[in-house]
């Protein structure tokens, strides 16, 4: 299956290392969410993907061979900051970009019509970009990335500054593109959105990909964790071996089970101590996972 492989990218600006050995892959038809704090290397990675920056080492491959100019021209790209001519009309601007991507005049005109209609911009085709609201400029930007029916989509912060309706529209479009068989890579700080939309997620920190995979893979810890909503005092667990209490919040207790099958004893002990209202495997949200990963001490994962 076609996939986009990012292989050990390293890039420094002057003395500052922006990326070190960053690797991950995005499969065709998959939405990949790229999260990380500001300055962690997301934009640098995307720029290298687009060939706008040269990596110091490492490479990006598509269907097994390194990205060349022709493949890169088949990428739909949405740069982090709005990248449009402020004083050019929406329609002219989109047509120009479509021409740069190799569409002929007629095809460019059709694509402008199609995408402005799809993204609710038909009324604004004749307006200068600078007269549009930020949200609408973002839609124009998305249209610019999609005009040439790209083989790969790379979107840097596509959701920032959008109202809920536009977020919904953007999500739909991304899912449709993925359904068309396109690998979709986007970065975002809106973790709930990433969690909802993405098939797989990569967390980058200080230029290193510290975790990547499906959400379930990311949630998978060395020892399973369980949540018990039941007896409030912690003492009821004292008799169970191979179990560690991670957190107690009133009636809710989170435990880590280090011996296979010990969770059954946990449940029995809990029921013996009082009524149990809930007993379930812990499913940390992406926000929790992200917080854990990002707050981890630098010294530890720097050496892994």
């Amino acid at each position: 299956m076609a996939r986009l492989e990012v292989d050990s990218l390293t890039k420094s600006y002057g003395g500052v290392r922006a990326l070190s050995e960053t690797s991950f892959e995005v499969h065709a038809g998959e939405v990949f969410g790229f999260v990380g704090s500001n300055g962690s290397g997301k934009t640098t990675t995307m720029r290298i993907l687009l060939g706008v920056l040269e990596p110091d080492s490492g490479e990006v491959r598509w269907e097994g061979s390194p990205l060349d100019r022709e493949v890169r021209r088949r990428i739909g790209y949405m740069p982090e900051e709005r990248g449009l001519y402020p004083r050019m009309k929406v329609g002219d601007q989109l047509a120009y970009l479509a021409r740069l991507y190799g569409l002929d005049t007629a095809a460019a005109r059709d694509a402008v019509e199609q995408w402005t209609a799809r993204l609710g911009l038909s009324e604004r085709v004749g307006d200068e970009v600078q007269k549009l609201s930020l949200g609408n400029q973002q839609r124009v930007q998305l249209a610019a990335a999609l005009m040439h029916a790209p083989d790969i989509l790379v979107l840097d912060e596509p959701f920032s500054g959008l109202d809920p309706v536009a977020v919904e529209l953007m999500s739909q479009v991304l899912r449709e593109e993925a359904a068309r068989g396109v690998p979709v890579l986007f970065s975002s700080h809106q973790l709930d959105l990433v969690e909802r939309l993405c098939d797989r997620v990569g967390i980058i920190k200080n230029g290193r990909m510290v975790a990547s995979g499906t959400l379930d893979q990311l949630r998978r810890t060395e020892h399973p964790q369980w949540i018990i909503d039941g007896p409030s005092s912690a003492g009821w667990l004292n008799g169970v071996d191979g179990v560690q209490v991670l957190e107690t919040d009133g009636a809710r207790t989170t435990v880590e089970v280090r011996r296979a099958g010990a969770e059954q004893q946990v449940l029995q002990a809990a029921m013996a101590a009082g009524p149990v209202r809930e007993f379930a495997p812990a499913r940390p949200s992406l926000t929790d996972l992200y917080r854990d990963v990002v707050s981890t001490d630098d010294g530890q994962e720097g050496e892994q």
């Binding site: 706008v52 088949r74 900051e81 449009l84 001519y85 402020p86």
Partner: protein, 398 residues
């Protein structure tokens, strides 16, 4: 589908530049103003200028027709333009009053009458008086048994030799004016075009659209397209002005007695504009790529603007009045200065084809190096937003 040939990208960029510039209000307005100013200036010169008077129209009645050859030859000798028309004696007064004729001669010698509306034009008076005197003299000579024609020939040949103490030859005012105008035009076109290129580069950088563009093409293609597009716009701008000037000059007959070859001057001016534009645009585009905000464009390109001022000031303040000055001649060969000064020297008629070709070659030799350096600076700097990129950073490895 993927028509990405190198030059089609350059052409697409150039087309956009042309369209946005030429359709802009500023361009239409300034070009319109220039045309109006040129035509109005030409009209002013034509109607009020001292040496561009129209021919005097002199009517002669059948009685006075015999004087026509003498009038024509005297007028030609004294440089007065004269049109002679035949009128019936009865129509003289009416035609003079209507302004169809400046003056009319009637009667025959010695009782010649000149009819004018109010005053007799000084030049016309000189001609008529000379003819009358010549005819009277001829009569006397004939009476004395001499040959009037031989005497007239002697008189015509008797001309003093003029010794000019000032060595410099007298400049044709039309050439001085053309030199002056050529200097100003080239300056306006290069300065305006160069700044447009610089601002365009920063517009793309500050709006980050350059990132999108560079995902589809190489930096040098973008830069080449920008320069090419603006060259065409500049040519159009200067072309509009030159055409308006040529049309005005011909339409108002301003250049009759001039040794100025306006066509050649205009042609060379376009050549020098092209050379100067390419060189300055490359330089300004690469410098502009160093900054990320429109406000900083001025400071980063000011050294180049300063360099442009020197040949311009020398060109328009010294060259037209003293074209043989050493400074002017030397600077007219120096690359970056020659585009401003050579056209002035060409207009003044002090530069031979060889001089022009040598200066052109000296500039063209530099172009490949300039393309290389500016391409490198531009490529390395255009994506580094934020603080101003130093030249050293831009020239180093990216």
């Amino acid at each position: 589908m993927a028509r990405s040939s190198t030059w089609s990208m350059v052409w697409l960029v150039a087309l956009r530049e042309m369209r946005t510039r030429v359709l802009s209000k500023v361009f239409v307005l300034t070009s319109g103003l220039f045309v109006v100013a040129i035509v109005a200036g030409g009209a002013f010169l034509a109607f009020f200028g001292p040496d561009s008077q129209e021919a005097s129209r002199l009517g002669v009645t059948p009685e006075a027709v015999a004087l026509e050859p003498a009038l024509a030859s005297v007028a030609a000798a004294s440089g007065t333009e004269l049109e002679i028309e035949h009128v019936e004696p009865g129509a003289v007064e009416q035609q003079v009053r209507d302004g169809d004729l400046d003056a009319a001669l009637s009667g025959s010698l010695p009782d010649l009458e000149v009819t004018v509306e109010s005053d007799l034009d000084a030049a016309l008076q000189t001609v008529i008086v000379a003819v009358v005197q010549q005819e009277a003299l001829a009569g006397e000579i004939a009476d004395l048994g001499g040959d009037p024609a031989a005497v007239a020939q002697q008189v015509a040949d008797a001309e003093p030799r003029i010794i000019s103490l000032d060595d410099a030859e007298e400049r044709d005012p039309a050439q001085v004016a053309a030199g002056f105008v050529a200097g100003i035009l080239i300056f306006i076109a290069l300065m305006g075009g160069g700044q447009r290129v610089a601002q365009g580069v920063v517009e793309e950088k500050s709006s980050r659209v350059v990132e999108l563009l560079l995902a589809t093409m190489r930096p040098w293609q973008l830069m080449a397209g920008k320069v090419l597009g603006n060259v065409v716009v500049g040519l159009l701008e200067i072309g509009v002005i030159v055409v308006a000037a040529l049309a005005t000059a011909w339409g108002f007959d301003l250049l009759d007695a001039s040794s100025l070859d306006l066509g050649a001057v205009a042609g060379w001016m376009l050549v020098w504009f092209l050379v100067g534009f390419v060189m300055y645009a490359l330089l300004l585009a690469s410098l502009a790529a160093l900054v990320s905000r429109q406000e900083d464009v001025g400071s980063v390109i000011s050294p180049v603007i300063g360099i442009m001022m020197v040949p311009y000031i020398v060109g328009v303040s010294i060259a037209p009045w003293n074209p043989e000055s050493t400074l002017v001649e030397v600077l007219s060969y120096v690359p970056f200065c020659s585009p401003f000064i050579m056209p002035i020297r060409i207009a003044l008629g002090t530069a031979g084809t060889m001089d022009v070709l040598i200066a052109l070659a000296l500039s063209l030799i530099l172009v490949p190096a300039l393309v290389w350096i500016s391409g490198r600076i531009y490529s390395n700097a255009i994506l580094r937003t934020g603080a101003r990129v130093s030249l050293k950073q831009a020239l180093g490895r990216s």
